[in-house]
Symmetry: D2
Subunit: 324 residues, 4 copies
């Protein structure tokens, strides 16, 4: 079976078609020529207040994977799993290495990790097309010293608002969507409707494909960069028209793989992230949240999903907290 | 001026007195012999719902410092400031190093940092006294492979609840508390009262001393491990009686330094963190939050402050988000 | 085929037998109770002068593998392949990030690597048995702060002397020795004799098994920790009696694997490194050197093989240079 | 005192003058358009044999600084001192963390360091001028993936030959040369003559200024990038005419600082390294070697100074071993 056969609802896009879709949905300058927030601007005070009003049960659910060596990274794109080093530990205490300290003893540690090795947001500076990131900022803004435009720290007080989970396996009545399965725009609307929610302005969409559950059952395989279910280019229209603030999923790259075109790698990143200013969250663990939503049929909640402000980073980890 | 003179409201504690205070406030076994959450258990569903009800303006305020080389670390305890490496960047794209990719171009990066080099929570596994961490778990639980008890990941879905800011500089009418200034138990109550809040069960207390503001004005100096304002051992009673869930401040170590005893390093860590099961948040940036609270006189809010789940870590970074 | 079948010339040693062999060859105290050099003491000024006299052709041959991501590490024992990060590069220059510098432009970089991930020496502090390393130093000498006894830096001016290559595949007329093939003591003597050299005091033996060549032909597989040809426990006698200074090979761990006993992991490390004070060099690339020796039939040379002085390290990388 | 006053034997060069000197000494294409070795080509088999013949006493002396946190780095150029992490240690063994292993116990460790943070060679890919490194290779050869031309690994079997120490403090009868002191071409010849050696083809010159000794006595201060004694631009003529293979010193950057021009940073790097193809060794510890040479009046020796082959690196550490 070829990728084209698996992406049964997708056609093979030409680069010109991708470019046209990008142009159609481009929001550069919409929030000013200096804007670095894009669709995150849709989350205003009213949206936050409304999101807080959705907390009905007092449940707190994390959507973060563990950051450790059991993660999915294989070296692809130079990404490795987080490495944790103890610089002081119980053994040191046992051997007397802290006897110079009065009374108290301590352990301490260090982490070394690619910022996108686990659950993370892409910042705008992560993706370029034709030499530009979102809002037209050029390559000179991302050097070995980090990003000076579209950097992760611009998101430090953003991405807290209404979260909406779209649980496709439950909607489709399957354990998980198969790799290569493309979710199109009507699917987004139909799934939301079936779940009793309406996708709207400032929403952070959490797309559960079940791909993470599949890998938990069967092993990571090529989770990091291989075939996966995900969003079709066809979803761009809905995401833009509904003024969605951000989209995250339980896959490596949000969009369907194999991509719907051989002419542009990760084309939905180009259309939505680079052009429409919609950041992508990747490797979100939506399993516990999905179970909770299924238990009471409520698929909207307050989501606190700001990343850590690693200065100049082009993406980065977080602990996305759904409060419902 | 000696430290004793500066700690005018403190006496010089003996180790036996610290031990007695520890024994008085010890909660080991209170939530069962396997408990790894301590006072975080006080944050139940009702507390979360109530905290969410405090969101009135839709403001989202981060309490995280930037994670970068401008941080306060000097090498003390082996801690360095976060180091950020680009593994792909705009220069690579400019030089044609990604020409093998169709269309899309990307930047990528790596972070290496001590987990407690910036804004962070101490996990229970960070501190030992007489060979035991909170709830009596022994040294064998923290090896070079990390912590197997009291580890950071136990806090992954905790520490989201009602936050209460105690803004001591505004309460005292000063720019900042001076290094060595000890806040005692009655101060906690009086400051809360003056701000119109009551410290209660499950609260996450954010103690603003102004020390971070001082360092922003005057340079880091010995922020990381030197003298600072902070909590007196005398506060243990209030924190325990009011069933506070966690305490964080804008200093390196929450408690006053020089410590109120030469016989136990960081004695309040021993009493509260090790014995009473109250985790400490350190290097929180409370400046923006304090300004917001002062503007409308409301010092309580929903706080989403779960750390990232670095497996086996003894402490770790987060982006604490106050929603008000 | 079981491991026992493959180790046809080996018997299955009991722990007591290994201990007896250790006791027989123990040199603790021989060079004083503070000695941290062991058999490296055999390389004296006369030995160095003699080694220098062996330089006849002016050839310089490195025995180091490349240190990079193409290495054999798989995560076993927490070891990863060396990771190289550019902190300034040509792209930065191209994008103008160094325009503040007059004229000159530069690139710069960082390495992160397990010290034993590539070609390396084990230091004495790498291996313990019954709580002691070579010369009886205890566990307290290796904490999170590094090794204070038997550390790598003690070898900074050692391991330069006469190198002797024993090329077993050429001696046996095979491409490489098969995994599990055990080289015994008589093999060492016979191979040396066939090559026209005599193993003697202060020699650094380079044991070529061909295992690296096999992996270059067939892929790394489990090179790092799996089955391999190597020295039998039976070789201890020859190494000790001949007063060999150090032994290195083209395998992960010098000695034959599966080990000749299930009761002691890497038993030859215990007998020779811990007890007889003979350090082991591992993952040496002996291919170019072997070709050169075969071309003129001379298997002795000056070897400059001091490791880099990483303070407190328990092993570490080097570029072993044979001069012949 | 201004820098001009201190560099009493230097004039203030214009960029045009530096460019003219570069043009005069440029060797691009001399060893072919693909050459990546430059003056290292001067070390041929005869030179190596001759160098080996200089071993008279059997002394082995390292010229490496310790690689650890006591080093001189301050963060300038993003360089930090080597960081060493234990991944297994004596404490783990003591706490029983290795009880699953039969008999043997082990310690293991990791290093993270800028490749030029201690004793090191600059590779040709470290320095660019007008968009080119030695032999005209362009910026595209040094991306985030490392150097593909002029990389460190090209030096893997080079830089072993005749070493000549020029001990300027002893020659001048001072403890050390003062920061800003410029050594000119005639100084090189006079010092060599006074020491009974003649600088010649393929020599590796080790320039002792005493600056490291000064820092050992007085603290590092701005050793890493501040003022220092060193070679004047005037030395280029001697280095090129005598066909010197490489130059190393006990300073951060070999050449005198403040530089002899404000118009080109590190101008001798531009003239010699970029144009004449002479690599520079920096932060060599020449103290022990100088004492040995002074004791018998012999300043020539066999030097084994190949760097470790970190693939794609633009410079890197080594343990330079003088054998005399």
């Amino acid at each position: 079976m070829t990728s084209a056969e698996r992406n049964t609802n997708a056609h093979n896009w030409s680069r010109a078609e991708v470019d046209a879709l990008s142009a159609e949905h481009r929001r550069w300058g919409f929030w000013g020529s200096d804007d670095e927030l894009g669709a995150m601007n849709f989350i205003d005070g009213e949206a936050v207040k409304h999101a807080a009003s959705l907390v009905r049960r007092g449940e707190v659910i994390s959507c973060a994977m563990p950051y450790d060596l059991t993660g999915p990274q294989t070296g692809y794109l130079g990404r490795f799993n987080p490495m944790h080093f103890m610089t002081q530990d119980g053994g040191d205490i046992q051997l007397g290495a802290q006897e110079h300290l009065p009374g108290l003893r301590f352990a301490d540690d260090v982490i070394s990790m690619p910022l996108q090795s686990g659950t993370h947001w892409d910042a705008f500076s992560h993706i370029f097309y034709d030499g530009a990131m979102y809002n037209g900022f050029g390559l000179e803004h991302v050097t070995s010293s980090g990003a000076s435009r579209g950097a992760l720290e611009t998101m430090q007080e953003r991405l807290t608002g209404r979260g909406v989970l779209l649980d496709f396996p439950r909607f489709k009545g399957v354990q998980w969507l198969e790799p290569g399965h493309a979710i199109n725009g009507n699917d987004l609307i139909a799934c939301a409707e079936a779940q009793g929610v309406t996708i709207g302005r400032g929403d952070i969409l959490l797309i559960r494909t079940g791909h993470l559950a599949m890998c938990r059952a069967e092993g990571w395989g090529d989770y990091a960069g291989g075939d996966s279910p995900g969003l079709s280019l066809d979803t761009a229209r809905v995401v833009v028209e509904r003024e969605v603030a951000a989209v995250a999923s339980d896959t490596w790259g949000v969009e369907v793989r194999p991509n719907e075109t051989d002419e542009v790698m990760q084309p939905l990143h180009v259309v939505l992230l680079v052009n429409a200013g919609v950041v992508f969250g990747e490797m979100f663990d939506l399993e516990r949240l999905a179970a909770a939503c299924a238990s009471d049929g409520v698929y909207e909640f307050l989501l606190a999903a700001a990343p850590l402000p690693f200065t100049g980073a082009v993406g980065g980890p977080l602990n996305p907290i759904a409060i419902r």
